[in-house]
Symmetry: C2
């Protein structure tokens, strides 16, 4: 369990300006009891989170992750996080991580039932070794997410654009994928459009154009996907967002699931239909995603 | 915080038979740190729960609650709980509760990330005072749940029949109801049928027939609703389950939200349209629901 720890954060208001928030952090062992049973994160999945990749002690894409945390908090009527405080907590944790790949998670919970403030913490731990899956790729199945494309806008209380702690369905979808002999899943809307994976964004290639499902409130805007788009655009490729019918999936010239810790995994098959795999581009993407970025 | 505590349960396999499980319980103060940050209940809302009403130290409807806990666990691929062990934990907690109304929650989490076993505990606390709302009733608004009636059967990974810890949407729906000046919400399917409330079941009266939306996998089978149906049937009323179009709601002769702790609350208005309120029957229902039942 070496290298696994958490910093409990005593949250301060969003507008508090200080040069040093270190006295608001309390470091605890990841295995030690730290949360009470009254925690609404645990009772209700009521809170928001982010997972940040860390490479050789450098936390990647911190600003987009913090912005998304604040966005999720707003959608869930949680107090706006003080991003300077969170940034220092991330830096504080990252400084204690050694070489290699790690993961820092940010968690902002509604707090203890009937309590006065949210509960906030970051965790730090070594990342699993994803080198094989980055080379080998993933087989995916498509799974109905139950919502039509218009649900997010029509019913904001469904929190479809927020990265909440209520991930039981995402976890169940991964188990269903494994049951079907696949590694991962792609969610489809009930009206037949491609959405995202349970814990990753999807990027498809058609010729020299790369496309990802439009983040219209029902899909999380992927921080890693944004990084990949920057890289591809710099290489002269055309990148964009679109409504993608599920029937387009098997027609793609290549496809990837991208996420903050596993990074880019080529999709080798969708529902048992093989997809072409671009080994060189995939390796390039992962080399780029492993380079220090802010 | 008097009377608030938890029993941490060291879960044993479902088929272990023992007369006494007391050595598998560890009592902790509800406010004390008891859970690690690696808990998947807190990171992913990954687990299942039940809320049980307790009246003068008697836990109500324990068997239906335990059966639903086991059902939820099955749907979530969690190890089947040992119901004798859970029953003893409930009895052990209830015995420490004084007179008046309390609530015992059962929580079965997938456990610590990469850990070997689920984490399990029960909490015990005094209930909020719901006497006023039982008399006064609740104003409700209807909110789109985003799923059509067929989603539960078509996509079991949506876990629609399980009472999971991923309740962020249910909590957001209650906040939306409050924003609209109401006390509670009724979820509608995207194809226009009545489902349930975020934390309660719905019972409607049309003449001498009482009807509740059919628990078809997409709706939790309410333990309190079952109790109310027993009572009503014994009084000679006709009770049943149906598909109920949302357009039928304002036509009801009376309606109630029923749940384990708040018990029966008459609905006084749906989307600002007043509904007739049966004060005498509501009082009878609550008197019955407060009497000791197993």
């Amino acid at each position: 369990m070496t290298g696994r720890f958490a910093l409990m954060i005593d949250p301060v208001a969003a507008d508090v300006q200080r040069s040093d928030f270190a006295d608001t952090f309390t470091q605890v062992d990841a295995a030690a009891p730290a949360l009470s049973v009254g925690e609404l994160s645990t009772q209700r999945g009521d809170g928001v989170f982010e997972s940040i990749g860390v490479v050789d002690g450098h936390a990647q894409e911190v600003v987009p992750h913090l912005e998304r945390l604040a966005h999720s908090a707003r959608l869930c009527d949680l107090p706006v996080p003080n991003l300077a405080q969170w940034r220092q907590a991330i830096d504080h944790a990252a400084a204690q991580l050694g070489s290699g790949e790690s993961v820092i998670k940010l968690i902002l919970s509604r707090g203890v039932e009937h309590g006065p403030t949210p509960t906030a913490w970051v965790t730090a731990a070594p990342a699993a070794d994803f080198s094989a899956v980055r080379e080998r790729g993933v087989r995916v199945v498509t799974l109905d997410r139950g919502y039509d494309l218009g649900a997010a806008e029509r019913a904001p209380w469904l929190l479809l654009g927020a990265k909440t702690l209520s991930y039981a369905v995402n976890m169940a979808a991964l188990r269903e994928a494994h049951r079907r002999g696949a590694d991962d899943a792609i969610f489809l809307s009930s009206d037949g459009f491609v959405l995202e994976a349970p814990t990753a964004s999807l990027i498809l290639r058609f010729g020299d154009r790369f496309v990802t499902p439009a983040p219209n409130g029902g899909i999380l805007h992927g921080t890693t996907q944004l990084s990949v788009y920057e890289y591809l655009a710099a290489q002269g490729f055309d990148v964009g967002y679109d409504r993608i019918p599920a029937t387009d999936l098997p027609q793609a010239d290549a496809a990837w699931l991208v996420s903050s810790v596993r990074l880019a995994a080529a999709i080798t098959a969708v529902d048992d239909v093989p997809l072409p795999v671009e080994h060189t581009l995939t390796a390039d993407l992962n080399r780029y995603l492993l380079s220090p970025r802010d």
